[in-house]
């Protein structure tokens, strides 16, 4: 198991050092600083073995977190724990910076004592931790017996991520479907690869211990239900999507998903990521980029790029940016664009064309003349792909939230009383067209 945990600043000074096992000595602290933080070469692996001691590290801004062990530990778990540790710290004091860590070192030691026992990760849900580890010292002395046992049962219980007795005057929940669409397209417009990686993020402000059921237009579910009425299958079949794979927050009952493919859970209070998913079929590509590059002699390039928006005319895409790479020996660029603003950025070797808003089913064009310095470099210009950024108010995978039902049998509010908000945001991931 984890033998020790160290936090360093960018200079390699130790900010936090907590040793759990006898086999990790103070020299381990120095070994990591010398061999990794102060190493001349760029880091080649997040796992380093120095003198039979293994160091796992992650970096957040310029802070290094390193877990140390001499055993054959579960490496995936160590990294998951380090990420979790960052989440917990961020939930307590915001950004992970040297300043914040120094200001909260007592708190961090207290947290480390709680979430890592003898190197074994323990409950690390911030919701639960915040009930008994607070920044304003411990309120233990004033807790009643009931409160204490409530804390312990939550920390160790089946629903460790939520405490009992939460009350809201207004029961409200927000669902964000956040997708990033990735594309690699050939110059001729052939899709070489495309996939959507999406997340469903939920913010819940619900009283009690609400039992939630989330439904979406998952093809498998729809087809299963559609069996009864053939009519419905044909109607909804078109809108359903095939999900390649999905993973869930630990509150979701996985065995139920495995057997019935239904997503049911008791949510943590506040914001959390309910699920992540990936789709590769029937993706709506919000933009099509049509490049045309012509070499005029040896010192001139003519570039024409057309972008076409491919979604409902009533919707608006935002923050559109097209990045057209230029050769290294570019001496001057003239650009004309119909919409937005375009600029040649010599330092980035690219023409950057920005459009604030664009409605669906429209097209726009940019023309550029690139003058080149004559070179005797035989090496041809590799023509990097044209990349694009944008944000659209729909889910390119076609995912639709069908329902999110809330049941709280003990309290007197029903599903209808809950105010629900659903929002879809599609963003560009790596969205490239070769030219």
């Amino acid at each position: 198991m984890i033998g020790g945990l160290f936090i360093y600043n960018h200079k390699g000074e130790v900010l936090i050092s907590r040793v759990y096992r006898d086999d990790i000595g103070r020299n381990a602290v120095d070994a990591f600083r010398v061999n990794v933080i102060h190493a001349r070469q760029q880091v080649r692996s997040p796992v380093t073995n120095i003198a039979r001691t293994s160091f796992f590290h992650v970096k957040r801004s310029n802070i290094w977190l390193a877990a140390v062990t001499k055993q054959n530990v579960n490496a995936a778990m160590v990294f998951e724990f380090l990420y979790k540790m960052c989440d917990v710290m961020a939930a307590y004091f915001g950004k992970i910076s040297e300043e914040n860590i120094k200001n909260n070192f007592v708190l961090i030691y207290e947290l480390l004592d709680e979430i890592l026992d003898f190197g074994y990760p323990q409950n690390s849900e911030t919701g639960a931790l915040k009930t008994f580890i607070t920044q304003q010292g411990i309120k233990s002395q004033h807790q009643t017996k009931e409160e204490q046992s409530q804390i312990t049962s939550q920390v160790t219980g089946q629903i460790g991520w939520r405490r009992e007795g939460i009350k809201y005057r207004r029961n409200e929940l927000f669902l964000d479907v956040l997708e990033s669409v990735n594309l690699l397209m050939s110059p001729q417009g052939q899709v070489l690869s495309a996939h959507v990686s999406g997340r469903v993020v939920m913010k819940s402000y619900l009283s009690g211990m609400p039992e939630c059921k989330f439904g979406m237009n998952d093809k498998i579910v729809i087809e299963k239900q559609g069996k009864g009425t053939a009519d419905e299958t044909s109607k909804s079949g078109k809108q359903s999507i095939a999900i390649d794979d999905c993973t869930f927050h630990q509150c979701v009952r996985l065995s139920k998903f495995d057997s019935e493919r239904s997503i049911s859970f008791i949510p943590p209070d506040g914001e959390f990521e309910l699920m992540r998913y990936r789709t590769t079929k029937d993706i709506i590509l919000p933009f099509r980029v049509i490049p045309l590059v012509r070499e005029v002699g040896r010192t001139k390039l003519e570039v024409k790029v057309v972008i076409k928006s491919n979604f409902k005319p009533s919707l608006l895409a935002q923050k559109i940016e097209v990045r057209i790479p230029t050769p290294l020996n570019t001496s001057g660029v003239q650009v004309i664009c119909m919409k937005g603003k375009a600029k040649y950025k010599a330092s980035e070797n690219a023409i950057v064309w920005k459009i604030k808003r664009m409605a669906g089913m429209k097209e726009s064009q940019i023309n550029a003349e690139i003058e080149l310095l004559p070179t005797n470099d035989k090496k041809k210009w590799a023509r990097p792909p044209i990349s694009m950024n944008f944000e659209v108010p729909f889910a390119p995978s076609g995912l639709k939230v069908r329902y999110l039902k809330v049941f709280e049998p003990k309290l007197n509010y029903s599903d209808h009383d809950v105010i629900k908000w659903v929002r879809y945001i599609g963003r560009s991931g790596i969205y490239e067209t070769r030219c």
């Binding site: 936090i16 990420y83 008994f132 411990i138 049962s153 160790t156 089946q158």
Partner: protein, 939 residues
């Protein structure tokens, strides 16, 4: 309130000041002082001098202060054991506190104070806490047992804590169960023999139930523990798999990987024919792909594991090539790993895409990555033959870029391509030679020199090129020196006239001016070879090279199986067994995949069975690369070019220096001059009397009774071709010895004497083990039967066909030559039965290209009869199975030179033909093994 001020640099006399503050009456001041102490401790300053003052602050009702003091205690108690005792009272008192959080804190901290004296006091509070009404205290106490065990294992056993811990596995609280499992697993690691965890179907069921309810970390502990269990049969394995698969959708990658580990391990026990097996395979791919969207560090761990999984079960991810394409922003360690997996997944179906990608990568910035990409192109060429041409042209394009390290890397891989496809791409040599000057890395120089030497006859100025390297001979690295030496000797053997001077120069450089013993030795060997026997030198230096394998860096199968048991852990990241990086005996228990034990079928199916050995047993050693090379050497490394071509007919080959003086010396050496008048009772061919004939049947015919099948004698040398001597014969094998049964008939008019026999070198080194004993002169029209014992220790040369044997027989009249084909089964040795595990491992290990399939027609035998018939010829049945009415026999045999042949014989009742599949590392023998099968089965 900010705490960062405590980190401010200290001045002299600080300890003294702190001491005063710690003893202050004001609570706030005390707390401030303790914080300062902790901050100093963190930065590595020694504040142990303050021990008594800090411990004095322990008795407080302020929990925050208490925790700080505890933190200090954990750090320094060991250096001040006597003072640490002062703290015991407070701990014991805290363990009785009404607040469960305080009870747990006390027991947790006490376990961290590694002082023997304290541990004694710990026992009672720990016992209470293990049975505490509050689950939070129990789960903390469970871990505390592991802590105590680490300090004093004997104490834990004596106090019976292990039993209490075992009871906690049945606790109602899932987190208590998870921590108890974690603690027990760790303790069990240091007692490999003990049955601490005592996993049985009931306890497994409890764990699986807790799995659904506990935290993500608890799920990992439980899954890792489950992976150590060996289900009793395939049904149990399947039911566990069914309950573990939902974990593949967990957001925590470690949960997913641990679940993958359990599934990969238990899958070994499932029959491939099961529908569920296929379902499971399909279920594994998506979560593995999803791991690639995790944070980069986790991606790295996942990729290292996928690398193992792809080697073990390539079918899982064979369609997922695209997800391993490198992204521009991936960290370098992710890029390199992805590249590795791309090559493993490359196949004819996706090679075009892969090559296009690799070409892109070769233009990137990171030197290591670019090199690896270039190397990958070479590996694609070797792996997918259809792509070789495209790969070579891609490499040539890259050489044109003139980027130094790209060129060098390309030349190194082109060398391998030449090795794999000789005489195919030599047209590119000219381009390579152009870049000779830019090579500055030893590996690239050595590769280039090898190419020049190997193709010296096609490179006009090969001598000049090599000479140019010779100038700075002593500045080169050993690798280059050795290669240069060999290349020049090759050149000399190919173009002896022009290069004599050069070769002398290099030999003297290597032998006289060098301090390197390897180089000197090689130089001397060449020198002596060249000066004493140029023909032999040719045979050695220009010998045919063994083929290079397609997958160059596969992990050795037994290690791979072990690493599969360690999926998700550091071992899987390092691709090394834990013993390689863990000190002491901890956690280095050898793990292996479970054997397949079917509940429904009585016989095993070798294909689906695991390759590992059952736990506790040493795994069988699978023939390693070295042995394989040995086999090839036995078979292949004859000189293909030296000497005149060998005829295979039975005509006289008088000119062939086959026997040389050997025969004469042989005859000279053995004096068996028999009196010409001696009576010849050995007229064995004729039916003299039944008794005598029976007697001889006994001697010469034993083989037919208990040994392997013996073919009837055939005429090998007709009388008209051998001045009246007719030789017919056959081969037998009985009780481990091979003999050649000859029948010599004198059809001439004169008496024949002075018989002798010798064999030419042959594929399996067959040679007479004794002289040809014809005790009396052979009178006209007389026949003698002789059994000539053979050995297999003669010199070896690969023959065409493989089982061709060229024989020379001498008598007083002349020397006669003939050749014959021996049935391969005389070479099947008695210890040719492979054990099952080994069989499976080897079957898997031999590439599919080495598999040959044959039809044996008109062989109406059932499996039993065939098996026993084959067994008498030393073909052993390893396993038997019935699939859809067909009998499958899995058989093994071993040749005298140690080559194993594995066979699968499919017999369909009612159908007279059966199908034979053969797998062997030396596929040349398959055809002959098939013939042997046919002969044995039909007679």
């Amino acid at each position: 309130m900010t705490d960062s001020k405590y980190f401010t640099t200290t001045k002299k006399g600080e300890i003294f000041e702190l001491k005063a503050e710690l003893n202050s009456d004001k609570k706030e001041k005390k707390k401030e002082a303790v914080k300062k102490v902790i901050a100093s401790m963190t930065t590595g300053k020694d504040v142990s001098a303050l021990f008594p003052d800090v411990v004095n602050c322990m008795q407080t009702d302020n929990l925050e202060l208490k925790k700080l003091v505890y933190l200090y205690l954990m750090n320094y108690a060991k250096s001040q054991p006597d003072m640490a005792i002062m703290a015991v009272n407070t701990f014991v008192k805290d363990c009785e506190d009404p607040n469960p959080l305080i009870r747990a804190l006390a027991v947790r901290t006490m376990g961290c104070i590694r002082v023997d004296k304290i541990t004694e006091y710990l026992c009672e509070p720990l016992r209470k806490c293990l049975k505490d009404e509050d689950p939070y205290v129990r789960k903390t106490a469970a871990v505390c047992v592991a802590k105590l065990h680490d300090i004093n294992a004997q104490l834990v056993e004596d106090q019976g804590f292990l039993d209490t811990l075992k009871d906690l596995i049945s606790d109602s609280n899932p987190m208590v169960v998870a921590n108890a499992v974690a603690a027990l697993s760790e303790i069990a690691e240091s007692h490999p023999s003990s049955n601490l965890l005592d996993l049985n179907p009931q306890s497994i069921n409890k764990l699986l139930t807790a799995l659904n309810e506990c935290t993500e970390w608890g799920q990992i502990f439980i899954l890792d523990c489950l992976a150590n269990y060996t289900p009793k049969d395939d049904r149990e394995a399947q039911s566990i798999c069914e309950r573990v698969t939902p974990r593949l959708s967990h957001a925590n990658s470690a949960v997913v990987l641990s679940a993958v580990k359990v599934l990969m391990k238990f899958m070994e026990m499932l029959s491939k024919d099961l529908d569920y097996y296929g379902t499971l395979l399909k279920k594994l791919a998506p979560p593995l792909v999803t791991l690639l969207s995790a944070e980069p560090e986790l991606q790295y761990v996942a990729l290292r594991n996928i690398n193992l999984i792809v080697q073990k079960r390539p079918e899982i991810l064979k369609h997922e090539m695209k997800v391993f394409f490198v992204k521009y922003n991936d960290p370098i360690y992710v890029k390199l790993e992805k590249l590795d997996i791309m090559i493993r997944l490359a196949s004819q179906a996706n090679i075009a895409q892969v090559l296009a990608e690799l070409k892109e990568y070769a233009t990137e910035v990171d030197v290591d990555f670019v090199r690896k990409a270039v190397r990958a192109i070479g590996r694609c060429a070797i792996k997918v033959e259809q792509s070789a041409e495209r790969c070579v042209s891609t490499l040539l394009d890259l050489i044109q870029t003139k980027v130094n390290y790209v060129v060098q890397e390309a030349i190194v891989v082109i060398k391998d391509i030449f090795r794999k496809y000789p005489n195919k791409y030599e047209s590119v040599i000219a381009t390579l030679c152009e870049n000779l000057d830019s090579l500055d890395e030893p590996e690239a120089r050595a590769a280039m020199i090898w190419i020049v030497g190997e193709y010296a006859e096609r490179i006009d100025n090969a001598d000049e090129l090599l000479e140019s390297f010779l100038e700075g001979f002593h500045d080169e690295s050993t690798q280059v020196q050795l290669q240069l030496l060999t290349a020049i000797v090759k050149l000399f053997l190919k173009k002896p006239t022009e290069t004599q001077e050069l070769v002398q120069q290099v030999l003297s450089l290597a032998t006289q001016d060098s301090d390197n013993p390897d180089l000197r030795d090689r130089g001397y060997i060449y020198w002596r070879l060249l000066s004493t026997d140029p023909v032999a030198a040719k045979e050695v230096v220009l010998a045919e090279k063994p083929l290079i394998s397609e997958e160059t860096d596969l992990i050795e199968p037994t290690l791979l199986d072990e690493l599969i048991c360690y999926i998700g852990t550091l071992a899987s990241v390092y691709h090394k067994p834990p013993s390689a990086f863990v000190e002491g005996g901890r956690g280095v228990v050898h793990k292996s995949l479970p054997p397949r034990t079917a509940s429904s079928e009585s016989a095993e199916s070798p294909e689906t069975a695991p390759t590992g050995a059952p736990p506790g047993e040493q795994p069988d050693v699978i023939p390693a690369q070295g042995d394989l090379l040995g086999d090839l050497l036995n078979l292949d490394l004859g000189p293909p070019v030296s000497g005149p071509p060998l005829a295979t007919s039975s005509v006289q080959m008088g000119a062939v220096d086959l026997l040389g003086g050997g025969l004469d010396s042989l005859i000279g050496g053995t004096n068996f001059v028999a009196p010409p008048t001696a009576a010849v009772p050995a007229n064995l061919g004729a039916p003299i009397g039944s008794g005598l004939s029976d007697l001889f049947d006994l001697t010469s015919g034993v083989g037919t009774l208990s040994g392997s099948y013996v073919a009837p004698k055939a005429v090998w040398l007709p009388a008209m071709k051998a001045k009246g001597l007719e030789i017919s014969g056959t081969f037998t094998r009985q009780v481990g010895s091979i003999s050649m049964d000859l029948q010599l008939t004198n059809k001439a008019l004169q008496v024949m004497t002075d018989f002798a026999i010798q064999f030419n070198r042959n594929s399996f080194g067959l040679a007479p083990a004794a002289p040809l004993q014809v005790h009396a002169p052979l009178s006209p029209n007389q026949t003698v039967e002789i059994s000539l014992p053979l050995s297999t220790v003669g010199s070896v040369m690969k023959m065409e066909p493989l089982n061709n044997l060229q024989v020379a027989v001498k008598n007083n009249i002349d020397v006669f030559y003939f050749s014959t084909l021996y049935p391969l089964h005389i070479l099947f040795v008695e210890d040719g039965k492979m054990d099952r595990q080994m069989f499976l491992a080897t079957w898997k290990d031999i590439p599919n290209e080495n598999e040959a399939q044959f039809q044996i027609r008109d062989c109406p035998l059932n499996a039993e009869a065939a098996s026993s018939k084959l067994q008498s010829s030393n073909i052993f049945t390893v396993a038997k199975r019935n699939v859809e009415g067909q009998d499958m026999l899995y058989q093994s045999l071993k040749l005298t030179n140690g080559i194993w042949v594995l066979a699968e014989l499919r017999i369909q009742p009612g159908n007279p033909s059966c199908t034979l599949s053969l797998k062997c590392r030396a596929p040349e023998v398959s055809q002959h093994v098939y013939q042997a099968y046919e002969t044995i089965l039909k007679n």
